[in-house]
């Protein structure tokens, strides 16, 4: 039996498990409902929408610290960033850790299959599942925005938006694989992912308050997923090709907003994401490969 068919058998094993779980449907169902509400309300709150150019909705920028921290960063990372945490984290938390939690890893690893194939099969299944969820999410958000503010433009950008959502979900999946292989406890995985999320959120807010908003922040793990999830679609529709970083900082005081190119911001986000994915998936595999089944 070839490695490909062996890996595919693990994909089917994982998919059969996911498709049988009520939890999968509850998470995806709630998520799509939230996506509709998000798509419906977002254009009316701050003029951001996936398919509506922000300048058309009259986005205003300010050097006010409150605006920078709460309206801009806390919303972009804190509120929007919860989505990829919930969907990517919750769906993937079980993948490795629960196999050890419930000892189902024993019959699985007792079969003539390489651990690498088990890991790759589980990862591939999550990639496929999250790709479907990303497509559904984007379509539902656009539907919400259509209902809210009318017909959307730039629909040819949908593949890039889907890529952005998918990348954000995959960040948490990679972290769930890493922590799951290391801690081997489903509840611990969720706890650590949430802790990482809040820790990064607080760190970004403190850094932004002291040094001003920096494009290098987009490189930070978890923060890049939040930016990617929420801000990338916004950048895509920046008609002038730049994005504005707020200049205010406790050290420098109020300064003029800094314009950085969308490409530059994207480079930080994508580089950060790729680095995270590489480290987390490789680290996860390292620990999974060495994991002993003691219980």
């Amino acid at each position: 039996m070839s490695r490909v068919s062996q890996t595919w058998a693990v994909v089917r094993y994982e998919l059969a498990w996911d498709m049988k779980k009520k939890r999968t449907y509850i998470i995806v169902g709630l998520f799509l409902f939230a996506a509709f509400v998000y798509g419906y309300l977002l254009p009316t709150i701050n003029g951001k929408s996936f398919t509506t150019e922000p300048n058309e909705l009259g986005v205003s920028f300010s050097s006010d610290l409150w605006w920078v921290l709460v309206h801009n960063l806390a919303f972009n990372i804190g509120v929007s960033g919860v989505f990829p945490l919930l969907i990517g984290g919750f769906i993937a938390a079980d993948t490795i850790a629960s196999e050890f939690d419930y000892n189902t890893i024993v019959p699985l690893l007792s079969q003539p299959v390489r651990r690498g194939e088990v890991y790759a099969g589980k990862l591939l299944e999550k990639v496929l599942l999250l790709l479907v969820v990303s497509i559904l999410f984007t379509l539902v958000v656009i539907a919400g925005s259509e209902v809210s503010v009318g017909a959307q433009s730039h629909l040819e950008m949908i593949p890039l938006v889907i890529f952005a959502e998918f990348g954000a979900f995959l960040e948490y999946t990679a972290l769930a694989f890493l922590v799951g292989s290391l801690a081997r406890s489903g509840s611990m995985v969720l706890g650590i992912l949430m802790a990482a999320f809040f820790l990064i959120l607080v760190s970004v807010l403190i850094l932004a308050a002291y040094f001003g908003e920096q494009e290098s922040m987009f490189f930070l793990p978890v923060a890049n997923a939040a930016f990617l999830f929420n801000v990338i679609p916004f950048y895509i529709f920046q008609p002038w090709g730049v994005m504005v970083l707020q200049g205010y900082s406790i050290i420098a005081g109020p300064t003029a907003p800094v314009a950085v190119t969308v490409v530059s911001a994207l480079e930080y986000v994508v580089a950060g994401l790729l680095a995270d994915l590489a480290v987390a998936f490789a680290g996860g595999y390292y620990f999974f490969r060495r994991a002993e089944v003691k219980g």
């Binding site: 094993y13 000892n103 019959p107 699985l108 003539p112 690498g116």
Partner: protein, 319 residues
């Protein structure tokens, strides 16, 4: 020894000086186990003696600290894929994905084993019937009783018709009818030419089922050989049931020090069972010790020790 010479020697499994430690804590030391092809080999020892650790090392679920493992003459390398194709494993109290039905569990693991779909459908149906789960095939595995889970685990272990079956406590959690059925199934499998390593803490089960046995105690091999040899080795043991006027701790300690005693157990207040490894009349010594400690030996009957009692003394003393 090369793979080919192992094949001609007819060994299904050979474990040499296997050691597994958890950091500074030792798990098993220098365990030796040799299983001939086509036999039902008992792997006997009390709970915590290291049977499951040994088995998990063989299956690659635990990484050995040192020692040698050979399955059908080949040393399992890496993920031991080739070895696992020839081995079916039933873990103690197996767990399967709760949401899958019994039939789906077999299909899922069968696909991972690489069994072609059409053959798998037939095989899984036959296996469910063989372990008596045909009526529960469409029920979620999570709703199975402990005994049903074990039987499902046995069916999974039999997928792909493996040459060697490693079964860890296969009758655990089964009702008496289930136990009889599993034992009959194992005998049938051996008559079909398969090799079975049966791990158990019950002497009676191993005695009834197996031709060969390896006994483990506190992580070490105590003895290994045919059941007949084990019986011969243990033969000659006798038990004295002694009743005293009063039995204090001092007298009890003195009794334990008598030469040739394997074990002393309290039966009732002032009554003890003294297991002797050889047929030595201990009654005069007991009477003398009783008097020395201000007591009296009221009665003392000599009996042949049961194999169960002798086995207990063996694993306790590590003779």
């Amino acid at each position: 020894m090369s793979g080919s010479s192992y094949r001609t020697s007819g060994l299904a499994l050979e474990v040499k000086n296997l050691t597994k430690s958890y950091g500074p804590f030792p798990g098993i030391w220098d365990v030796n186990l040799t299983v001939q092809q086509g036999t039902l080999h008992g792997f006997l020892g009390p709970n915590g003696s290291g049977k499951t650790t040994t088995i998990k090392c063989i299956m690659g679920l635990l990484y050995k600290t040192s020692g040698e493992i050979r399955v059908f003459g080949e040393e399992p390398l890496g993920d031991a894929v080739e070895m696992k194709r020839r081995v079916g494993y039933l873990p103690e109290l197996p767990s399967f994905p709760n949401y899958l039905k019994g039939r789906e569990v077999l299909l899922t693991y069968g696909r991972i084993r690489g069994i072609p779909e059409r053959r798998l459908l037939e095989e899984s149906k036959a296996l469910l019937s063989r372990v008596g789960l045909e009526d529960a095939a469409e029920k979620a595995a999570g709703k199975y009783s402990k005994g049903m889970q074990t039987r499902l685990g046995l069916a999974v272990a039999l997928l792909g018709k493996p040459d060697l079956l490693i079964l860890d406590e296969p009758t655990e959690g089964l009702d008496p009818v289930g136990v009889i059925k599993v034992r009959e199934l194992l005998k049938t499998l051996v008559s079909e030419g398969r090799t079975v390593l049966l791990s158990s803490h019950q002497l009676s089960e191993v005695q009834q089922m197996c031709s060969m046995v390896t006994v483990l105690k506190e992580g070490r091999t105590v003895t290994s050989g045919s059941m007949e040899e084990l019986g011969k080795r243990l033969r000659g043991g006798v038990v004295y049931r002694a009743e005293f006027d009063s039995l204090g701790p001092d007298l009890m300690n003195e009794v334990k020090k008598i030469e040739g005693i394997s074990e002393v157990t309290s039966v009732e207040e002032d009554i003890i069972a003294v297991l002797m490894s050889k047929d030595y009349d201990v009654r005069p010594t007991l009477a003398r010790l009783a008097v020395q400690h201000g007591s009296l030996l009221l009665s003392c009957e000599r009996e042949e020790a049961s194999l169960e009692e002798l086995f207990l003394s063996l694993v306790k003393e590590g003779k």
